[in-house]
C-alpha cells in the first residue's frame, strides 16, 4: 500500500525524467495516463464493493459513473454554478440516482437483480441519449476547466488526492462491522439473514455507497477528458470495472487498483495498434481468471496454497488418531453431564414458557403440510420432534424461523408474538437455527464466523467504521475453544470436516445469544463416530449454557439419549407428546413408524 502511494506521488516527476531521457515520449501524455488509471482504480474499487465484498453483479454501475460526469458538466456549464459545487454534486447525484434505482433493482435477487440493473442501465442511457435539449444527446457535453486546474500536473495531483481520500473512506467501510455484514452476505445470503442481518437493506446501502463513489469517479473523469458522452452509460461500459476488478483480484481491497494499472498499460500498449484484438485479449483474461482463479490475479497465491495442500494431503491423513484419544477423555465428561442432567430433568416442566405454537397451519395448494399444530417448549427443555418422512417437521421449523409464512395460527416466543416476521427479525429475538444442510460462511475463518455473528447480534453491523476483525475477538476465541475447534480457529471454515462444520453452526447459534436453538436433523449424513461426537457437544453445551433445544431427528438413539420431551408428528398433525418413556410405550407411535415400514417394503 505504501509502495502504491509512493508510486502515485512519483508519477509526474518520473514522467518528466522519462521525457528528458527519451524526447519522443510526452510527459503530458504519461501523466494523462496516470490520471486515467487513478480514476479507473476508484471506479473499479467502488464496483468491487459490490462484486467482491457483497457478491452482486451489477450492469448499471457505468450508469452512475456517467451520471456523475453529466451532473458535474450540467451544473457547471448549464447552471453556471462554481466548479467545486458542481464537483461536489457529482457524488450526491450519483448516490441519489443509485438509491432510487437500487430500490427497484433490489426487489429481485442474484440473477434477476443483474437483469434488472441491465434494464435500469439502458433506461438511464436512453434518457441521456434521447433528451437532446438537456444532455446534448449523442453529441455529449463538454466543459472547460477553471484556470487553477487547467495544468495537467495540478490536475493529476488533485485527482490523486480525491482518489486517495475516497479509497481511505472505502477501506474504513470494508474493515468495519458493516463490511463484515457485506462479507457474510457474499458468503451465504440465507445464513446472513439467519444471524440477524437484513440482507436487502445492506445490499441497498452498499449499492448506494458504490454509486456515490462511481459519481466521484465520473466527476474526475470529465475533468481530465473534458467531455461526457452517452456511451459512458451503456451497459457494455461495465466491462471496464469488471475486467479491472478481475485482473487485480476481487478478494483484496487494492486489487482493482493494481488491475487498473495493468489495464491502462495494456490498453496503451495493445489497443492503440490492435483495437479488435484487445477485446479478445480482455475476454481471454476474464475467462482465464473466472475459470482458473476465481478471485483475480492477486488471489493466485491461494491457488498455489490449494495445490500445495493437495500435494501434502497424504501427510495429514494421520491427524485423526490424536483427535480420537482426546475423544475418549471427553466421553467421560459426557457421562458426568448425563448424570447431572437427571437432577435438572425435573426443572424442565416448571421452567418458563419459551416457545408456544397455537393452531399453526401451512397449506401448499391442497396439501396441508402443517395442520393445526399446537406445541409448547419450556426453558431448559430439550424437545425432539419425530415423525416419518413428510410429517411436516421441516415445514414446522421453517414456520418458526420465518422462512415460510403460516397460513393460520400463532407463534409466540419469549412473550412476544413473532408470527410471520422476517427471518432476520426472528433471529434477533433469540431463535438460532442449524440447518438441515450445513450452512456456514465457508471462506471466513472459524473465528470470523462467530465474530460476525456476535457483531450482528450486538447490532454493530450498521457501523461503517471500526475494525470488525478486532471486535469480539476474545469472546469468539473462547467460544471456538468451547466447541473444541480451538486449533482450527484461523482456518477457513469450509475446510473443516462435516461434523466440525456442524459444531460451528451450533457455535454460531450460541454466538447469537440464542435462547432457543433449532436443530434440523443435526446428525444427518454423519458417520456413527461423528454422530456421537456432535451429540455429545450438543448435550454438553446445552447443559453448560442452559440452552433450550428444539430438534428433529431420524436417529432414534440420538432422540432418546438427548430429548427430555418428544412430540410425534404424523401427516402434518401432532399425534402425541410426552416424555421419552411415555413415547416409547405409546402403541400409536409404533403404528406410525410400522406403517411407514410397511409402505417402504411395499414400495421396494
Amino acid at each position: 500500500m505504501v509502495l502504491l502511494a509512493l508510486f502515485v506521488v512519483a508519477v509526474p516527476p518520473l514522467a518528466g525524467q522519462y521525457e528528458n531521457l527519451n524526447p519522443d515520449a510526452s510527459s503530458r501524455y504519461l501523466i494523462f495516463l496516470g490520471t486515467s488509471a487513478l480514476v479507473l482504480a476508484l471506479w473499479a474499487i467502488s464496483y468491487n464493493l459490490m462484486l467482491g465484498y457483497t457478491g452482486m453483479v451489477s450492469f448499471a454501475h457505468a450508469a452512475y459513473f456517467g451520471v456523475g460526469a453529466y451532473a458535474l458538466a450540467l451544473i457547471f456549464k448549464r447552471y453556471e454554478l462554481p466548479f467545486f459545487v458542481a464537483l461536489a454534486a457529482a457524488p450526491v447525484v450519483g448516490a441519489i440516482v443509485g438509491l432510487i434505482t437500487g430500490l427497484v433493482a433490489l426487489r429481485a435477487v442474484r440473477l434477476y437483480f443483474s437483469l434488472l440493473t441491465l434494464a435500469i442501465s439502458q433506461l438511464l442511457f436512453s434518457i441521456v441519449f434521447q433528451w437532446y435539449d438537456f444532455t446534448g444527446g449523442d453529441n455529449g457535453i463538454s466543459i472547460t476547466l477553471p484556470d487553477q486546474l487547467n495544468d495537467y500536473t495540478t490536475l493529476y495531483y488533485f485527482t490523486a488526492a480525491v482518489v486517495v481520500v475516497c479509497l481511505l473512506l472505502m477501506f474504513v467501510i470494508v474493515r468495519s462491522p458493516f463490511g463484515a455484514a457485506l462479507l457474510s452476505i457474499r458468503e451465504n445470503r440465507d445464513r446472513a439473514a439467519s444471524i440477524g442481518i437484513n440482507v436487502r437493506a445492506y445490499e441497498l446501502a452498499v449499492y448506494t455507497v458504490a454509486s456515490l463513489f462511481a459519481g466521484v469517479a465520473g466527476g474526475l473523469f470529465i475533468m481530465y477528458q473534458q467531455q461526457a458522452y452517452p456511451e459512458m452509460l451503456y451497459w457494455t461500459a461495465n466491462a471496464q470495472p469488471v475486467v479491472v476488478s478481475l485482473l487485480g483480484g476481487t478478494t483484496t481491497f487494492l486489487g482493482p487498483a493494481v488491475g487498473a494499472l495493468i489495464y491502462v498499460a495494456l490498453d496503451n500498449a495493445i489497443a492503440k495498434q490492435f483495437p479488435y484484438q484487445f477485446d479478445i485479449i480482455l475476454g481471454a483474461i476474464v475467462l482465464g481468471v473466472v475459470l482458473a482463479v476465481p478471485g483475480g490475479i492477486s488471489d493466485a497465491p491461494s491457488v498455489f496454497l490449494r495445490l500445495r495442500e493437495r500435494f501434502h494431503r497424504g501427510e495429514k491423513a494421520e491427524a485423526p488418531a490424536a483427535e480420537s484419544t482426546g475423544e475418549a477423555i471427553r466421553m467421560i465428561d459426557v457421562r458426568k453431564a448425563l448424570e447431572s442432567e437427571a437432577i435438572q430433568a425435573e426443572a424442565v416442566h416448571s421452567g418458563k414458557m419459551l416457545l408456544r405454537l397455537e393452531n399453526l397451519s401451512k397449506r401448499f395448494g391442497g396439501l396441508r403440510a402443517v395442520d393445526d399444530v399446537s406445541l409448547e417448549v419450556r426453558q431448559g427443555d430439550r424437545h425432539a420432534i419425530i415423525g416419518p418422512n413428510g410429517a411436516g417437521k421441516s415445514t414446522l421449523f421453517n414456520l418458526i424461523t420465518g422462512r415460510l409464512k403460516p397460513s393460520a395460527g400463532k407463534v409466540t416466543f419469549d412473550g412476544r408474538e413473532i408470527t410471520g416476521k422476517p427471518p432476520h427479525v426472528i433471529a434477533r429475538t433469540g431463535i438460532g437455527r442449524a440447518f438441515q444442510i450445513t450452512t456456514i460462511f465457508p471462506k471466513l475463518t472459524v473465528r470470523q464466523n462467530l465474530q460476525y455473528a456476535m457483531l450482528a447480534h450486538g447490532g454493530y453491523t450498521m457501523r461503517p467504521f471500526g475494525v470488525a476483525n478486532r471486535m469480539f475477538r476474545n469472546e469468539a476465541q473462547e467460544l471456538v475453544e468451547a466447541v473444541g475447534l480451538g486449533p482450527w480457529a484461523d482456518l477457513p471454515a469450509g475446510q473443516l470436516s462435516h461434523g466440525d462444520q456442524r459444531a460451528i453452526e451450533i457455535a454460531i447459534s450460541l454466538a447469537l445469544g440464542s435462547k432457543l436453538v433449532l436443530l434440523d436433523e443435526p446428525t444427518a449424513g454423519m458417520s456413527a463416530y461423528e454422530t456421537d461426537k456432535a451429540m455429545e457437544l450438543v448435550r454438553r453445551l446445552a447443559t453448560e449454557r442452559h440452552l433450550t433445544l428444539l430438534f428433529c431427528e431420524h436417529d432414534m438413539a440420538v432422540v432418546f439419549t438427548t430429548a427430555r420431551t418428544i412430540t410425534v408428528m404424523h401427516q402434518g398433525r401432532v399425534l402425541t407428546a410426552g416424555t421419552p418413556d411415555e413415547i416409547r410405550r405409546n402403541p400409536d407411535v409404533q403404528k406410525v413408524y410400522l406403517g411407514e415400514l410397511e409402505e417402504e417394503e411395499l414400495g421396494a
Binding site: L111, A119, I127, Y276, Q277, D279, V286
Partner: protein, 292 residues
C-alpha cells in the same frame, strides 16, 4: 391514427416480434435446461448475420441467401458447441456471478473475432423475397410477412420438439432433476451440449433472418441481447410461450412507441420500464417458474 396506420404498425410490431422471438426462445431454452444465462447469445446472432450477408452477397440474392442462412446456422451451432464444451461445462452449478462473467468473456472474444474477420463497417444484403403487398393505402414488404410466418413455424417447431419428442422429454426432465435423469441412463452431458447447440442455432437463425431487414454491424450483438433479456424476463426465463408473449409485447411497444411523436425518443425506455414493472410484480416473469 387511422385503421390503416394501426395495421401498418401492427405488422411492423409483429415483424420485430418475429426475429426477437427466435433469438429469445434460444436464450430461454438454454436457461431453462442449463440454468445459465448466456451473455454470448447476441454474439452468435451477430456472427450468423455477418456470415449470411457475406455469402448472400457473394452468391447473389435468392439462392445465395438461403445457402447463407444454412451455413450461418451451422456456424452458430458449431461455435455454440465449442463454447459449451470448453467453457459452460466448467460453470454449471456454480454461482451466477461466475456464469455471467464466463459467458460475458466469451462474448468479448467473439465480438473481437467478428470485428477482425468482417471489419467495423455496416453491411446490407438485398431481400431474398422482393416485392411488396399493398393493403389499405400502405405497402408491406413481402419479406416482413415471411419473417412473421417463419417465426410462427419455428415457434411451433420448438414447441413440438419440447413436448412431442424424446429429446424434448429428456430436456424437460433435465430441468427438474438432472441427476435422476442421468441415473436412468441418459447422457446428460451430451444432452446439455445438444440443448446449447440448439439454442446457439436459434440465435443464428434469428441473425440470419433479420439480416435483409436491418443493417448488420459489429454492435448488433449487444443491441439484440438486451432486447432478448427483456423479452425473456417479461415472459419468464425458461418458458417458450413466455418468450412469444414477451416478444409480442416488446415488438409492439417499439413499433407503436416510435410512431407517436411524444414517445418517439423513449420507445426503448418503455421496454425497460415494462421489464422492471413485470419483475417487481411477478419476479419470475409472466410465465416463469421460481427456481427451486
Amino acid at each position: 391514427m387511422t385503421p390503416g396506420q394501426v395495421l401498418l404498425f401492427t405488422v411492423g410490431g409483429l415483424s420485430n416480434a418475429a426475429y426477437l422471438f427466435i433469438v429469445a426462445a434460444g436464450l430461454s431454452l438454454v436457461f431453462g435446461a442449463l440454468r445459465v444465462i448466456n451473455m454470448a447469445h447476441g454474439s452468435l446472432y451477430m456472427v450468423a448475420a455477418f456470415v449470411t450477408v457475406v455469402i448472400a452477397n457473394q452468391l447473389g440474392a435468392g439462392l445465395g441467401f438461403w445457402g447463407g442462412l444454412l451455413v450461418a446456422v451451422a456456424v452458430a451451432g458449431a461455435i455454440g458447441g465449442v463454447v459449451e464444451v470448453l467453457v459452460l461445462r466448467r460453470v454449471y452449478g456454480r454461482e451466477h456471478l461466475v456464469q455471467l462473467l464466463g459467458t460475458y468473456a466469451v462474448s468479448l472474444v467473439v465480438a473481437g473475432g467478428v470485428r477482425i474477420v468482417f471489419g467495423p463497417n455496416y453491411r446490407t444484403v438485398a431481400s431474398p423475397i422482393p416485392g411488396h403487398l399493398d393493403l389499405a393505402g400502405y405497402s408491406y414488404a413481402s419479406y416482413s410477412l415471411f419473417m412473421i410466418a417463419g417465426a410462427i413455424v419455428i415457434g411451433a417447431g420448438v414447441w413440438t420438439m419440447l413436448y412431442r419428442t424424446n429429446l424434448g422429454r429428456n430436456i424437460r426432465a433435465a430441468v427438474s432433476d438432472p441427476d435422476l435423469l442421468n441415473a436412468t441412463g441418459v447422457n446428460v452431458t451430451r444432452l446439455y451440449t445438444t440443448v446449447f447447440v440448439i439454442g446457439a442455432g436459434l440465435a443464428g437463425l434469428g441473425g440470419s433472418i433479420v439480416a435483409p431487414s436491418q443493417a448488420v454491424g459489429s454492435s448488433i450483438d449487444t443491441d439484440v441481447l438486451v432486447l432478448a433479456f427483456a423479452i425473456s424476463v417479461i415472459g419468464g426465463l425458461g418458458s417458450i410461450v413466455g418468450s412469444a408473449v414477451g416478444a409480442l409485447i416488446v415488438g409492439m411497444v417499439i413499433s407503436f412507441g416510435l410512431v407517436i411523436p411524444q414517445t418517439n425518443p423513449f420507445a426503448l425506455a418503455f421496454v425497460f420500464i415494462i421489464m422492471t414493472a413485470v419483475l417487481i410484480v411477478r419476479p419470475h416473469g409472466l410465465f416463469g417458474r421460481p427456481e427451486s
